[in-house]
Symmetry: C2
Subunit: 144 residues, 2 copies
């Protein structure tokens, strides 16, 4: 197991996306808090909660063997005492695929723990567009 200590939430966030690009399960789980409830929502996936389910979900994703490149854009950072929330757009491409993937919007929550900054929540879902004018006109009907 990795014993990396992340001294900032941004360091933990960088390691999260590094793990995603490298299919590195040990690094991925070193980013997540060990002693807290943790929650992960993959795009189009059911919510998973707790160490065991979160690890298993990443193990399955990494086992697919696809290699991703992730660019993070338009980060909005919210800071509180011992907590940071990063709202980001993930621009993901799959090595070997020509078609671009739709961008994802992700909410990443980090807590400052005794073992440094750790992720406690990752919630990602497809973003229809990154500009306000691309919001579909029928948004209200899509609710909520």
């Amino acid at each position: 197991m990795s014993v990396r200590i992340f001294t900032t939430a941004q360091d933990a966030g960088n390691a999260f996306y590094e793990a995603l690009e490298r299919n590195d399960l040990d690094l991925m789980m070193a980013v997540w808090a060990e002693d807290e409830e943790i929650v992960c929502v993959h795009p189009a996936g059911a919510r998973v909660a707790g160490q065991e389910q979160v690890r298993e979900s990443w193990r399955r994703i990494f086992a697919s063997g696809q290699r991703l490149r992730v660019k993070i854009a338009q980060q909005v950072t919210l800071s509180g005492m011992m907590v940071e929330v990063h709202s980001v757009h993930e621009v993901i491409s799959v090595i070997g695929e020509e078609a671009a993937r739709p961008p994802m919007v992700a909410t990443n929550v980090y807590l400052r723990t005794a073992a440094g900054w750790r992720m406690v929540v990752h919630h990602a879902s497809p973003a229809p567009g990154t500009a306000a004018e691309e919001v579909p006109a029928d948004l209200p009907k899509l609710l909520h």
Copy 2:
């Protein structure tokens, strides 16, 4: 404007869903933090950030006139210093519609501010199922 003070994150969360059911824009915005960056991701909608965009997004949703009933299920609560994150399933029905809506999974982040507990992030997206066995077998391909 409302001057309601929410003494717990749960109170703020209850008021959030009350505002959603009542199409009450004043109550909705009383739930959100005033002096922080705030972020809202509606299902299938673009991310909106800041007071002005968040208020406008709710104004448009409430202007549709549809009346919702929201049941909250399977809440997972993460607590830090001055912060709480609630991961919930939203079971939403529209009054007058027979077809059930697919459940949503939402990440709601609350901070304890000088004006009581306030929401700073709401991220909602469709949940394919609420049980682990309903995770689609091709989840890895859907990434990330």
